[in-house]
Amino acid sequence: MIRREALIGFAHGQWTARLDEQRFYASEWKALREQLVRFCRQNGAGQAVRIYLRFDMRDIPRWFHQYQTHYFNEIIELKA
């Protein structure tokens, strides 16, 4: 199984993701995840892929970090 990590963020009203050198943008979360899935399927060479989606807290204003230090992580698994 191939393991990938996508760093998730939010800027200027859009969800963002960085996976390898690729950047993804979408106004809705589902649309961003679909882009990531599509990309991994196309570049997975037919193998099973596990994508770790991890939110980068730098995109939450720092003032809020005193209240909560985690937004979300998620794992997506794609079959071979």
Binding site: K30, E34, Y67
Partner: protein, 503 residues
């Protein structure tokens, strides 16, 4: 340093050096360990200043710093009060600046901001001990300050320093916004209060030595009440937000958590859980902070007036009603003072300090712990019912851990260390108690004072502008649904509990 690159929670130990939550744990433990050096006959904490009862005419007649300030322990009693003040400032500045450095804050702004905040806090702390404001006409520990100062009148408020600090903070935060923004880097009420709560663990340990059964009951009742409040209040607010205010699912969920559970912390956790845009909790948080301040000012005197014979119920209800840890602890401290002063004036009997406050904090701590579990459950529900398109998604159990309030671990650690010593190491118990008493006394109270001042600094009432519908929902939900329900739950689990009488 991690703060300069990404701030991603990959491992269980992620954020140990870069988050305020962890730094509250580190600072609290550090101070506790310093206190424990008493075991080796080393007093490493007694230099911390604390105010003395003073009277204005007397001070003006013969001014002396020694009438205003003293050190926490007799070891340093021969220090000049200003030397102790300077040493306290430098020591606390070094400790907090270490945290600021690792968290990647602007050190120049932090140091200048903390310096101002520190001395403003000391000023308000001293002011609150003026006899006409604080002295109560009753004998406590052999002193009746009201009579000893020969007062003909007095407000008899007991600990008024908290209110003065809050008022000064609010004044600066709302009328001198340029100055407030310069202090912003050091205006960290959540950090200060979480560190204070860790030290409150020492207080709980000491209290448990005196009344183990009552402490256990208080902790268990707090857990049960917090759990019931979650299940009861959240669905009601969510339903109203959807049905009568037309909010979408994400906004309703975030707002419900913010109003009904634990303010900003829960709203961010819920927003992440339901994959809401971070803009939503940011918008909701402005409301939460302003309303939390209103609650902390309005509810303590209202509860004391409404139910003077139910101090622990009132404390627990406060923990479930007042949002944000800082505002809750602040409200609990005010409630503790008001109840004890009223009881003292009416009966001449002094309830031990800290139990009512602990009731408020214990319910809040349980709520903080449950946030992670609640967010996890919400994510599962969302994935299954709302966000269930196509691909196979897994929810790592570490999500609960990443949202777990780490300062609670330090609070429990400190508490259990004291319990352990009491049970298995009775020979060193007197020294341990002495050290614990010092850190949970002056340091904890000073951190509370810092919290009051900085809550005032960060509360900007102008943020309510343009939030009409949400503000209306928030106000309605808070005072019509949450406060009564929380009170009912608190009463069910805590009624007839009374604080022990002080020695």
């Amino acid at each position: 340093m991690e703060a300069n690159t990404t701030q991603v929670n990959r491992k269980w130990y992620s954020g140990m050096l870069r988050t305020e939550d962890w730094w509250a744990a580190w600072l609290g433990i550090f101070l506790f360990v310093l206190g424990m050096l008493h075991i080796f006959h080393i007093d490493a904490v007694g230099w911390m200043i604390k105010p003395k009862h003073w009277e204005l005419t007397d001070l003006m007649h013969h001014f002396s710093w020694a009438k205003l300030l003293k050190t926490s322990s007799k070891t340093y009693a021969n220090w000049h009060p200003l030397a102790a003040l300077l040493f306290s400032y430098i020591a606390l500045l070094l400790m907090t600046t270490a945290g600021a450095y690792f968290q990647g804050w602007n050190l120049r702004k932090f140091v200048s901001g903390f310096t101002t905040v520190f001395f403003l806090t000391v000023f308000t702390w001293i002011l609150g001990y003026e006899a006409h404001i604080s002295a109560v006409d009753a004998t406590v520990k052999g002193h009746n300050w009201y009579r000893e100062f020969g007062l003909s009148w007095g407000l008899q408020l007991g600990g008024a320093s908290f209110i003065i600090a809050l008022a000064v903070g609010l004044l600066i935060g709302n009328f001198f916004k340029g100055w407030a923004s310069q202090l912003a880097e050091a205006a960290k009420p959540e950090w200060f209060i979480k560190t204070a709560i860790v030290l409150l663990g020492a207080k709980m340990g000491i209290m448990a030595m005196k009344a183990a059964g009552f402490t256990k009951d208080l902790a268990l009742a707090g857990a049960a009440a917090a759990f019931v409040a979650y299940l009861l209040i959240w669905p009601v607010v969510y339903f109203i937000a959807r049905k009568y205010f037309g909010l979408n699912r994400e906004s309703a969920a975030v707002l419900s958590s913010g109003i009904s559970i634990c303010g900003v912390s829960a709203s961010i956790a819920t927003a992440g859980a339901v994959r809401a845009k971070p803009l939503i909790p940011v918008a909701v948080s402005g409301l939460i902070v302003v309303f939390a301040l209103l609650e902390l000012v309005v509810l303590p005197p209202a509860y004391v007036k409404m139910a003077p014979a139910q101090p622990i119920v009132n404390g627990a209800a406060m923990g479930m009603t007042v949002k944000t840890d800082g505002a809750d602890a602040a409200a609990g401290a005010i409630l503790d003072d008001l109840h004890r002063v009223q009881h003292l004036r009416q009966t001449g009997e002094k309830w031990e300090e800290g139990w009512i406050l602990s009731a408020a904090i214990l319910t809040k701590i349980w709520i903080d712990i449950f946030i992670g579990i609640w967010a996890f459950v919400l994510t599962l529900v969302w994935m299954r019912n709302v966000d269930n398109h196509g691909v196979k998604k897994k929810l790592p159990a570490s999500e609960i851990w990443h949202r777990f309030p780490k300062f609670v671990l330090a609070y429990l650690l400190v508490w259990f260390v004291l319990m352990f010593v009491m049970k298995f190491l009775p020979d060193i118990l007197p020294a341990v108690k002495e050290g614990a008493h010092l850190v949970q006394g002056s340091y904890r109270k000073f951190l509370f004072m810092l919290t009051f001042l900085t809550i005032g600094l960060i509360t900007d009432f102008s943020k309510l502008r343009g939030m009409g519908r949400m503000a209306l929902l928030y106000g309605l939900a808070l005072f019509v649904i949450i406060a009564p329900l929380a009170y009912l739950v608190a009463w069910i689990f805590h009624h007839s509990m009374l604080p022990p009488v002080a020695d």
